[in-house]
């Protein structure tokens, strides 16, 4: 799945940091490294101070007096995501781990503000001037548990996709640098290392700095509702953030709602929000390629929200869509129906079966499914199969698989649409599905009628 090509991300920025000491303007890479090394630390998750680390990343100081650091949510998430977790987060200063408390998180941007009982000497300052494409930037972090490293790269601009905002960088960041700062040559904060594009060379992403400032302001205004020790309270808080995020995604989908032509079908698309590729035809289709003309499209929202590193979870909330149109050229009715049946039956839906068989704890409830036939207002008949379930941890978050097939009047042109809506509320999912069904039409059918 393409969404797995992106590692979870993080955001770093500071709008107004009440810095006691802001480090001096560096005049060289040497100064830059030295100054950032004073505010950049390893953040690790482990059972105790001296226990081996379960995971690690980087954090940097945003408020020296209060001991506040910014890192990625995915770096510290295990402590609040796992029920009865005995894990704790630590900031390692001069080799000594100091236990950290999570003050607030921004799950949509993959940011966390943490606090330790320690007074730092300096803190980072937010870049106030607009940075231009092509400018040199510097990423900091502690890769592979080694030591603080500085890598230079290029700022390639902002990627704004609905509620998802990222900086596209040409910077070779590595595992362990998550949560580290991205600065300009003056050492001012531009972003926060968050992810790399898998199977690519030096294509990486960071969270724009402004979101760091927003997170800090949220805490200062008393908006945070998180506690390292209260699992139930944390889940509610996480759910409220997921709901806000997915609502923004839903609004962006509606805003970008367009119609596109696929073969002779008019189908809904979502503008730039979804990235689409021609679907790779499987063996079944190849064998029939001369007898059936089939076009496929695979689309997804390329960004996703990181939920948990727990392997039982997909780890992300995402949205994908498969569309196939097929025109029968040489097959008889049975053969064409069998061909479509093959398309319609794949992929399998019910993820929960695996968990039930292994008696493992499933992330969601058993799927509730429905199979029906319906006619839309354009007089097209659809065969519809869908299954939905809710996340056990987040009862308002639905995971919905939706498949439908429709034919034109001749029975020789068919359209198959599959959706995975992972993270929608039931109201939004219903609204979305209704709209998709009503927005499909067959052009020849319409011209004749």
């Amino acid at each position: 799945m393409m969404h797995k090509n992106f590692l979870a991300a993080l955001f770093v920025s500071v709008l107004s940091l009440s810095a006691s000491v802001v480090f001096a303007k560096p005049k060289s890479k040497f100064n830059l490294y030295r100054n950032v090394s004073d505010i950049c630390y390893q953040v690790k998750t482990s059972l105790s101070e001296n226990a081996p680390k379960a995971s690690y990343g980087t954090g940097f100081v945003v408020n020296a007096k209060r001991g506040w650091l910014i890192t990625n949510y995915h770096v510290v998430s295990d402590v609040i995501q796992k029920k009865n977790s005995t894990y704790r987060n630590f900031v390692v200063i001069d080799g000594k781990p100091i236990q950290a408390k999570i003050l607030d998180i921004d799950i949509l941007r993959d940011l966390a503000l943490i606090q330790i009982d320690y007074q730092f000497k300096s803190e980072i300052k937010l870049q106030s001037k607009a940075i231009k494409e092509g400018e040199k930037i510097f990423s900091f972090g502690i890769p592979k548990d080694l030591k603080l490293s500085m890598v230079d790269g290029i700022f390639n601009g902002y990627l704004e996709n609905g509620p998802f905002h990222k900086i596209l960088m040409s910077t070779p960041i590595n595992g362990g640098m998550s949560g580290g700062p991205v600065t300009n040559n003056e050492g001012k904060l531009v972003g926060v290392n968050v992810s790399t594009l898998r199977n690519s060379d030096n294509i990486s992403f960071s969270v724009p700095g402004k979101f760091v400032g927003e997170l800090i302001s949220h805490v200062e205004e008393g908006g945070a509702r998180i506690s390292d020790l209260d699992y139930g309270k944390n889940q509610l808080y996480l759910q409220s953030q997921i709901l806000m995020g997915q609502n923004d995604i839903f609004l962006a989908m509606q805003k970008n709602w367009k119609k596109e032509v696929l073969n002779e079908w008019s189908v809904p698309m979502f503008g730039d929000l979804m990235k689409c590729w021609m679907q790779k035809l499987n063996e079944h289709i190849k064998t029939e390629s001369e007898k059936v003309i089939a076009f496929g499209k695979f689309c997804e929202v390329p960004d996703s929200m990181f939920l948990s590193s727990d392997e039982k979870f997909e780890g992300t909330l995402f949205y994908t869509m498969n569309i196939f149109s097929a025109s029968n050229k040489k097959l008889n009715r049975f053969q064409f129906a069998d061909f479509l049946n093959g398309l319609f039956n794949s992929p399998k839906m019910l993820r929960n079966e695996n968990y039930n068989n292994d008696e493992e704890e499933a992330p969601s409830t058993l799927h509730q499914c429905s199979n029906l036939k319906m006619k839309n207002k354009k007089n097209l008949t659809f065969q519809v199969s869908y299954c939905t379930s809710t996340y056990l941890k987040y009862p308002k978050i639905m995971e919905t698989f939706f498949k439908m097939i429709t034919y034109d009047d001749s029975g020789n042109n068919a359209l198959i649409v599959n959706f995975i809506l992972d993270g929608f509320t039931s109201d939004n999912a219903i609204e979305f599905l209704k709209k998709v069904v009503e927005d499909i039409s067959f052009q020849k059918f319409n011209k004749d009628s």
Partner: protein, 193 residues
Amino acid sequence: MKNPVVSITFFVILFLISLIAVYLTTYIQVTVMAYGLFGGFIAAAVVGWLLLGGLSWIISKEFKGIFLLKYVLISMTATTLFTVLFTPILHLDHLTYFTPIFNVLISFIGLFFLFQILTPDVSRSKLLARISLFIFTWQTVVFTISYFSSKIHMKYTVEAPGYFASLKIKTPQEFEQDLQETFKAAAVENSKN
């Protein structure tokens, strides 16, 4: 019957007629099934009975003979085995082009046996009755199996064309209501945990 040219001609004609008859039967089965599985099952059995019964009447007109029950049983057993084996292996439900091919093959084997065993001692009406009984039983067995295999298939996947075909077409309002109820059921499921 002794003339090899006549035998071969009859053999070919028989094959072609049975091919057309069985293909037509299958087509009708599938079409009628669009109005419901049970109705399709009954209608297909009746149509198959009439079509192949008619064919057997033509045969019996030309060749008088006796119908041996053991050959009928062999044919039926072969049909059942083919259906049981190939339905799950080749994912054969109702709408598949393999079905008429196997039907033709099996019916041909059955009718070939009949051709071999025909004797001038049995009355035409008796022969017709026996062949009709064979065809009716055959259709019943095939469709009973395919009905249950479809049910079993349904249990593991949520889609089966035969099942969809039997569903009432919902209006957009009824579709929304279905969505509401299913999503609500998922929420109720969560509250049990």
